[in-house]
């Protein structure tokens, strides 16, 4: 009845049921995503790297691991991106270099999202001392620099893709928990939660079956944002030597192996192309996050 209600009625018919309205809404959301240049650009970039992560070395021009005598050849007809100090084809290594990151980063994100969502639901739903206790721990963890925790943990546990996933996932958990908690605090005051209590539902059912479906939007957005950071974290830790281990053709490993050459002369292609690859993937993921956020926040 206010101006806004009527304006909103201009978008959704206020009275009467339109049987296909939900389908239309879903299709509308997809339509908005497809029309969003941001989202499409991100999807193309990420799609490209997903493709290469799947096909890996099978479609690369050369074997990314094959060591040859043709060392440090500049970009040209034979080797479009040149070769590195062991004579390996940089183009092939860049294309094949996506595979480890594309396994570790999404799984770490998934772990962080699952852990963070659970923790966020618990703290947001129960409030009181449970919330106080967990939230203080979360604050303490967040006060430490991410890279310090991760490096310490990786040194203690030993480097492997599995530990990398666990460590990054664990570091993300409190961050995700905070976002989820904020969303839960808004939902738990709604009457459908009281209605559930009034029919004798237990807390886990209310949290996961009643509240969770209503906060999927912010969780999806958080997941894409986290994925960007996860790729970033994998790249950073690998560069420092705690992440993906040689001889994998990982981008960060390539940079770590070759950056000293930048002092010796003009061998910048050995570092430049893997760096561009990392940048395109992270930018792509962030573009998807932006696109999703624009559509879901509406």
């Amino acid at each position: 009845m206010s101006g806004m209600t009527d304006a909103a009625a201009g978008i959704e018919p206020a009275i009467g049921l339109v049987p296909t309205e939900a389908k239309i809404a879903r299709r509308e959301m997809l339509g908005q995503l497809v029309r969003s240049k941001t989202f499409i650009a991100g999807a193309v970039l990420v799609g490209w790297w997903v493709f290469w992560a799947i096909v890996g070395a099978r479609l690369t021009p050369d074997d990314p691991l094959e060591i040859t005598d043709a060392i440090l050849i500049g970009p040209g007809a034979g080797h479009w991106f040149g070769t590195d100090s062991l004579g390996r084809d940089v183009l092939s290594r860049v294309l094949a270099g996506a595979s480890d990151t594309m396994k570790v980063a999404p799984l770490a994100t998934l772990l962080g999202i699952v852990g963070g969502t659970t923790l966020g639901l618990i703290t947001g739903y129960f409030k009181g001392w449970v919330d106080e206790a967990i939230s203080r721990v979360i604050d303490a963890v967040l006060a430490l620099p991410l890279i310090v925790i991760a490096v310490t943990a990786l040194v203690a546990l030993g480097s492997s893709n599995v530990t990398l996933i666990i460590v990054i996932g664990a570091v993300f958990t409190p961050i995700v928990a905070r976002t989820v908690r904020a969303a839960v605090l808004g939902e738990r005051e709604l009457d459908y939660v009281s209605a559930a209590k009034l029919r004798g539902e237990r807390a886990p059912y209310i949290m996961f079956a009643e509240i969770l479906p209503n906060i999927i939007g912010p969780i999806v957005v958080e997941a894409t944002v986290r994925l960007g950071y996860a790729i970033f974290a994998v790249a950073g830790l690998t560069f420092l030597g705690f992440g993906v281990q040689p001889p994998a053709p990982d981008w960060s490993l390539q940079i770590a192996d070759n950056y000293t050459l930048l002092n010796a002369g003009t061998y910048e292609w050995t570092v430049l192309f893997p760096a561009i690859a990392i940048a395109t993937l992270i930018v792509g993921v962030n573009l998807i996050a932006d696109g999703l956020q624009q559509v879901l926040d509406r």
Binding site: M1, S2, G3, T5, D6, A7, A9, G10, I11, P13, A14, I15, G16, L17, V18, P19, E21, A22, I24, A25, E28, L190, D191, Y192, S194, A195, K197, L198, R199, G200, E201, E210, P213, N214
Partner: protein
Amino acid sequence: MSEATAPVVTAQHALELDELDVVYRVRGRDRQVLRGVTLNVGRGEAYGLVGESGCGKSTAALAIVQYLPRNGFVRSGAIRIDGRDVLALSGAKLRRLRSESVSMVYQNPGAALNPSIRVGKQVAEVFSLRGVGRDEALGHAREALTTVQIADPGSVMERYPHQLSGGMQQRVIIAMALATDPALLILDEPTTGLDATVEAEVLDLVAGLQAELHTSVLFISHNLGVIAKMCDRVGILYAGRLVEEGATETVLNDPRHPYTVGLLRCVPRGGVRKDHGRLDTIPGFLPNLGEELPGCVFTARCPLVEQVCRAVEPPLIDLGSGHASRCHFHERAQSLPRVTAADLVLPAVDRSADPLLRFDDLGKVFKQQGHDVHALVGVSAAIWPGETLGLVGESGSGKTTLARALLGIVQPTSGAVTLDGRDLSGTLGGRSADEMRALQIVFQNPDSALNRRHQVRRILRRSLKKLAGTTGAAAEQRMLELMSSVRLAERYVSARPGQLSGGLKQRLAIARAFAGDPKLVVCDEPTSALDVSVQAAILNLLVELQAQQRVSYLFISHDLGVVRYMSDRIAVLYLGRLMELGPSEVIYSGPHHPYTEALLSAVPTIDGAERERIRLEGDIPSAANPPSGCVFHTRCPRFLGPICVEQEPPLVEVEQDHLMRCHIPLEELRELQAAGSPPARETVAP
């Protein structure tokens, strides 16, 4: 008004809408929202625009100030404010028109004020905009606040909007709106969110100022009572079409369009009660936005419809003295057949038997920033099987806390609740499944009460499983029965709440509450979010379910007409205390508690017959710091003297079944209230 913008020739009307078509572009299609609306608001006139939500009232208001949402356009027609063509203006000229010639007051005063700027500065801004210096602007702001009868403008100016009550906020907004002496004041549901007592104050204020300043007013409301009180002329809007127009008294007493007749019949008024029969309703739904309507816009819902109605759109037929109706059969409109049969047999409540639910000396103290807030103080009452106990009082009087304490959502601090003679635990965890299923609730806002991600089937099946222990095929069968008992068509089983209209959502919420065959259902303002035609259907449904299942209701509403229709007995709460309790006819006919008297007199009635008006001064006091003695003494229109300040009157049975908490003896109250409204008294400092 500055010289530069003064119209050369003073226009005859403050506002003219001429064949106004407004469309919203949705999914690439233009959907018509206003269909050739033509109306004029004369100088100094108050014009009421009435209709249900979605009929285009607010769109009209937004179009007038060129404030439509981005997908809204004026397709054709003209809008003239003070003789100037609004559609031809843009940029600075449009802004100047908005700042000087037209003001708008919205429904939610809290959202219309900037929360981070002090009230004084916000009001002064209106004057600063016109080039007045800072100190002078503040001086004007003080005057403006005095005009809207704010007793202490100095202290109000120093405060932030959230530190003011809703009524006070709306006064500030009205002060800002009138500051520029606009040619046209648009009020869009200005009192819808306010309590009846505050609403009455604000309406009195607007009416007084309008008479004094000769402001032209466009008053938008769904409440016919408010329109009857405020407006000289009224226009009835349906599906973006003006279907009837005329002097307010004529239209409301001699309606000539079936829609107007239907609207008037939906509202429970004139003392109608559930045992008089069902309310009449308007069948069907508003046409979808932008639907092609070649004939009369009301055909789909009109019981008088004939072939010609579908084919030919009736013109606005002049009925003399400015009354016009857009109906081929306007002379038959009042003989509109009833859509809903009135017959309904309600079993009588047997109050000699044991009550179903009894609560004794119920108290609830909330801790708020170290302070004790007494939300409920020693409230006792009982509800018998098949009975409806109405619960009334202003917001903050403890109605919802009482309901939630009975349900076990809020744990009472003291007192006892018994169900069928057995003690009930104060928390849900301590209640058995049977006790839980016995007490259910229908919430005010179905959007909040229903999980928007769950389908109808899941919502109902889950309640059947948890409350009735029914699963599998039996539950599916029972679910369909439930749906048919609340008249929710079977095809909605896979729908989510967002796909249902407000009325259907509330039916679903009622079905859920009835899943476990409850003994008592708390209805917490179940129709306040609904349009009157939908409200009538929901009230009918609740009464039918009561007739069939002998369920009891605790019925909370701020709409006293609705409470009167539904209730067998009524309890009046003020600051968490029970002030009066008795059979609903006694409560309404009096003699009643002075607070009840004030509540009743605050309600604007459609019938035009003005009650003796009794105004409550100021706002409800804080429950953290209640007044001494009788908690109502600070606002009481029948204030006796020191005894009221010093001693809290006990709740006594003044006549059979009628309990009251007042120092004035019943007979004296009877005489006083028969004599009419009391003289205004000096406000007693709290």
